[in-house]
Amino acid sequence: MAIEVRHINKTFGSFAALRDVNLEVKGGELLALLGPSGSGKTTLLRIIAGLETPDPEPAGSVLFEGRDVTSQRTGDRRVGFVFQHYALFRNMTVFENVAFGLQVRPRGQRPAENQIRRRVKELLQLIHLEAMADRYPTQLSGGQRQRVALARALAIEPKALLLDEPFGALDAKVRQGLRRWLRRLHDEVHVTSILVTHDQDEALEVADRVVVMNQGRIEQVGTPEEVFHHPASEFVMDFMGSVNLFHGRIDSGKAVFGPLVLDRPETAANGKAARLFVRPYDLDIHHAHNGKPGLRARVKRVQSAGPQVRVELLAETGEAVVVEMSHAHYRDSRVNPGDGVYVSLRDGRVFTEDYAI
């Protein structure tokens, strides 16, 4: 089911949580709403679910398959919602929790007892918790509770699945396992899913498309590759991973940052101040000047405990620079703390006031 939100605004008191948000969610896709706290992503999700209403002025709308559901009660929208703290019914067993959505249907639409039982069993098998059917939520671990919450949401055969930081309260290892499990589940079930998260690794790993939000606005919508490698704004680039930042200027078709120069012939922003964002793995370290433009720097620290080697340097311009390289590369480079080296650039993103180039 395709979902669309148009011109959604939401203020709480004097705080503007959402400002003129427009978004189209394709049917069957897994979309991630990514951003720091306060970016409005949870508010947007709750508005889609019907747990909040958008401001009436200026009028915004929520559409399911083109139908306006803005004023429809949340219970009538047939969406599944998974809360960050599970919100399982503590006085009901796992079975009763999952069965709840089916049991509260009005007489006419309620399935028969044995049908409900069958469906719940199926779902419990799907989440590998049939043995826990008679347990209470307090007797389960966090990861188990979240799986029950998911099963509960899926029981009503929702037209969309909305997840609010579902793995936020869990340990790192459990989180990773559940993340992958969610992706596999989505591949099987194909329900339109929207996942709110502040963890960009999670968004990049799991989602078909990522929506990056900041201070109530959408910064960029795109596939994980697009958002990571072609960030539309400084915020997106900075948020999606570590960056090195250099200050400089545009000068007749070139972006100049000290000794580092990039060709940017198509830019019209001549003479303007510019900022260069470079990923740590797009920088190289050389002991000797090899003809390419390089920034002189001194190695401060080498961190080799981890999947990559992290080299922290202090440039002669006074800026702190971080370079990442593979362990193999590091062994070949023989870089040590205290060495004077040159840092060269493979690629970077240049941003001026209004343009991203």
Partner: protein
């Protein structure tokens, strides 16, 4: 490793505390039963089976039987509004609900006399229609409602505030109606504190003396509750009788204490479960 106070100190303090409690608390309780049974079991039953005593028991149960359900409904409504919603004046409302606790029992009765008594606001209006509130059963019921007013609400409000609204939201998204929401989600989560509040409310309703004394008129067999009947018997020097009826009330107090003991753990669980859900675990 907690430092232990020296043995002598421990024994001394414990003995002092126990002595204090024995003299000031345990002894009076014991005295009630001892005096009640002083003239033997036969006299005890006679005192309780006395028609006026039975009438007082009936009236006590009636007053409690009306006051408690009404305050129960009020407690639920007030706790629902206060705990699940945000609105200005919430703290004021909570303070106002606690007011009856701060009012002396005699004044609790006085205010109803001022409203419904012969010289009261509505006095003439009522006597024109032949409706008696003061010095009759309705007045007793009203005074009882007043003094037990906050009990259920006070148990429910902090609990429901701690439990938050997430389970209710989850139920609504799943399609539950308002009624289903209340009966299947909210009520089961508060059942132990609700029960305890009702027990406290009932015990106080049956044991109230000062307020009921003011509005009652002390008409034997008609407008005497058990505490008032105790007073009458005592003032007539019928000690065995007075203590016999008093012993029933003392038993009621003991039931309340036992209930508190039994429910305490369950009530604490209602708070604890909620916090446990928030801690990150594997």
């Amino acid at each position: 490793m907690k430092r232990q106070d020296p043995l002598l100190l421990r024994c001394g303090l414990t003995a002092a505390a126990l002595l204090f409690l024995a003299v000031f608390v345990a002894l009076p309780l014991f005295a009630v039963f001892a005096q009640a049974l002083e003239k033997g079991l036969a006299a005890y039953w006679t005192a309780i089976a006395d028609p006026d005593a039975l009438a007082s028991i009936r009236l006590t149960l009636l007053a409690a039987g009306i006051a408690v359900p009404m305050n129960l409904v009020f407690g639920l409504a007030a706790a629902w509004a206060i705990a699940k919603f945000q609105f200005p004046g919430k703290n004021l409302l909570i303070t106002l609900i606690d007011l009856p606790f701060a009012v002396s029992p005699v004044i609790s009765g006085l205010i109803y006399v001022l409203m419904f008594g012969a010289q009261g606001w509505l006095g003439p209006w009522l006597s024109d229609r032949g409706i008696k509130i003061i010095f009759a059963v309705p007045g007793i019921v009203l005074a009882t409602i007043f003094v037990t007013f906050p009990f259920v609400a006070r148990e429910l409000i902090p609990l429901m505030q701690a439990q938050g609204t997430e389970e209710e939201e989850a139920a609504l998204v799943l399609g539950a109606s308002g009624r289903q929401l209340f009966w299947r989600v909210t009520l089961p989560n508060i059942k132990w504190s609700l029960l305890y509040g009702v027990i406290l409310c009932s015990a106080r309703a049956m044991g109230e003396f000062g307020a009921v004394s003011v509005v009652s008129g002390h008409i034997r067999g008609e407008t005497n509750t058990m505490p008032l009947h105790v007073e009458i018997l005592y003032n007539e020097y019928n000690f065995a009788g007075a203590f016999a009826v008093a012993s029933l009330l003392a038993l009621l107090a003991l039931v309340t204490l036992v209930a508190k003991r039994l429910l305490e753990r369950k009530m604490r669980q209602d708070y604890a479960d909620f916090k446990a859900a928030e801690s990150a675990e594997g």
